[in-house]
Symmetry: C2
Subunit: 436 residues, 2 copies
Amino acid sequence: MAVGVHRVVIVGSGFAGLFAARRLEGAPCEVTVVDRRTYHLFQPLLYQVATGILSEGDVAPPTREVLRRQPNARVVLGEVVDVDAAARVVTARSPVGETALGYDSLIVAAGSAPSYFGHDEFAVHAPGLKSLDDALEVRGRIFGAFEMAESEPDPERRAAWLTFALVGAGPTGVELAGQIAELSRQSLRGRYRAIDPATARIVLLDGAPRILPAFDERLSARAADRLRELGVEIEPSAMVVGVDADGIDVQGSDGARRRLVTRTKVWSAGVQASPLGALLARRAGAALGRHGQVEVEPDCTLPGHPEIFVVGDLMSLDGLPGLAEVAMQSGLHAASEIDRRLGGDPRPRRFQYRDLGSLAAISRGYAIGQRGRVQVWGRPGWVIWLTVHLVFLTGFKSRVAALFHWVFSLFGRARYEQSTTLRQVTARTASPSRPG
Amino acid sequence: MAVGVHRVVIVGSGFAGLFAARRLEGAPCEVTVVDRRTYHLFQPLLYQVATGILSEGDVAPPTREVLRRQPNARVVLGEVVDVDAAARVVTARSPVGETALGYDSLIVAAGSAPSYFGHDEFAVHAPGLKSLDDALEVRGRIFGAFEMAESEPDPERRAAWLTFALVGAGPTGVELAGQIAELSRQSLRGRYRAIDPATARIVLLDGAPRILPAFDERLSARAADRLRELGVEIEPSAMVVGVDADGIDVQGSDGARRRLVTRTKVWSAGVQASPLGALLARRAGAALGRHGQVEVEPDCTLPGHPEIFVVGDLMSLDGLPGLAEVAMQSGLHAASEIDRRLGGDPRPRRFQYRDLGSLAAISRGYAIGQRGRVQVWGRPGWVIWLTVHLVFLTGFKSRVAALFHWVFSLFGRARYEQSTTLRQVTARTASPSRPG
């Protein structure tokens, strides 16, 4: 890199990191994006990878491809193992060794991973859904469960294979519940001989009194109605206090405990920040929030380090939720701040989050959405949901064939991605997502 | 299953097993297909999964889906651990336990795996390309190698990451060589900053004096010319005598040894039969050929066991090669024999292989093919290759969207399936295919 050119290092190629990198196109700086993955992950559709509609490639465009025509950006595959805030050097590790990446500005957008609230031993039995690996693990378990049910002669054990527990009734849990319902009632119809996949129980649990608490109460109720129509059992105010291979232990709001016998569990009940937050605490004096997020100034910088921005899920600011939209906007904000400083204006600006609204797909043809006081649901909601996701998926790169494939899959009942081996079914190894 | 109905058990859901199962539709028997995988694998296109063009789902339709509307067929996910030829029982193992599958007729179509000719330690460094797992492993290594080259400052070590060795110049090795050449010269163009991917060396080695020895000498020479145009180095008469993480040791026809420094190796130099062959030897007195295949009578039955058929890659008969076409026809033959016996005609018929011709794709727009004395090459060959593969892919089930996706990918330069994590690059664990 040329001496004297302002060096921006961005840790993470998620929404926050990638939007920051793109925003710096044409700016007088050199941008280096470092990540453990070669791809940007379109997380909002990960549940469709887990349920066989999309392939990995459909939701994971290569970061290099996205940044191909941005001459001032480069990508480094590596795991960030140190941030020296005094020397302004990030160290990334890969099989070729450690790479020192000096920076003038640093944007840390390392994201989050599932949180088991101190019960990391749950992860083996109830994987989260934050990474491609997670999605493939969950996919293997869902399709594998129907296979095992088909082979299992004992009715009780068979019922355990045909029971699916979704822990956490945010968008991921709700969308997964809807997908597994459609899968069992429609996609798999007629495929088995010993079982009727439509008899599968799909149980959606949450400690909160209602599903999708980020939405208005009426929309949440509509979504619950639609899920019940699909055959999903909703258990609000249910705390999961134990998870093992054969089931989960649930405590109701009255304190009474009971057990749900189920082989297949997916955990989306909470998130914790990337370990890079703790690294910033040790190496740059960052203060951490309750879930390990980094407390930042109103302009998204680290207190005492105006050259370090923390954005996206890793950022703790004004109680903003860990949404893709917050990640994109905070990434853009950090890049704008850097760009403006390079233009000679050093005054910090507050990050102002503009709520553009929320959407959640419940099933094919049914989504809910709200923006301010405007609410949509049902088919109109789904059309909006589809449009927004199409625009985003095409935004990075024209991928007409993949889109065609996807739209076709969504309208039809085919699920192309179901390949499962016995090894995948039997693998009961921990695979918690590793952030950043 | 109803008492008295003739029970056919088919081990394996590859070309031989699936064609046998489909042939028995409507026949007065109950068909059980048992496999470790839930899917039929369209092996001839596996190299496109390994090079990012196709997703797993594109080449792996669920076996249950293929047999969905065949009421006399069922599918069992399990690993065959025993064949009791006296009691006529196959034992399959899965997480739910062992399942005993009694049979009146048995078709063993368990396929083959890569052979390292007694050097199984090579497998860690040079995976084969026989299973979906293999394809994903190879894909991660190919794309990961460019990543590591980008990060590697040392020129020699960088060159090792940018050298790809394909051991074995049959269709798989040739098609992979062509794909990696196109990938490095076209798909990845402009994506890296420190390296030019077009400088990658692609070396195709074989112990034989020419590539694609199953083809006529002139076609083989044309294919070699086309590969050289693409930048592939062809090393005939080269025996690979050593493989380690950093390279391979090659012995020429003059006996002289030399070393090729390369991080990425793929092995398609030979195959060995499924271990089910050895099981049949122990339990049913089968005689095994040089590569572990089972010697069969001219009607594909095991000597002394007219109720046991061995077909596909696992079969040793008249020196027939391990081709998809042989697998399909021998599977059909076994099913026809059973069907005819059920119709009251017990006389065995010889399996007559009809050579319908061979095709191999060298690059986008160039394939070679021969049928009897007719030879095609170049674009006409490619059109035939494309047509044949489209017909096969659609044959099992109408998958219009996937086909569109695929054709689009073939004509364009996009490779959707490139997602790689650092973990995949660093994983250097053995992953030899396990047949059957």
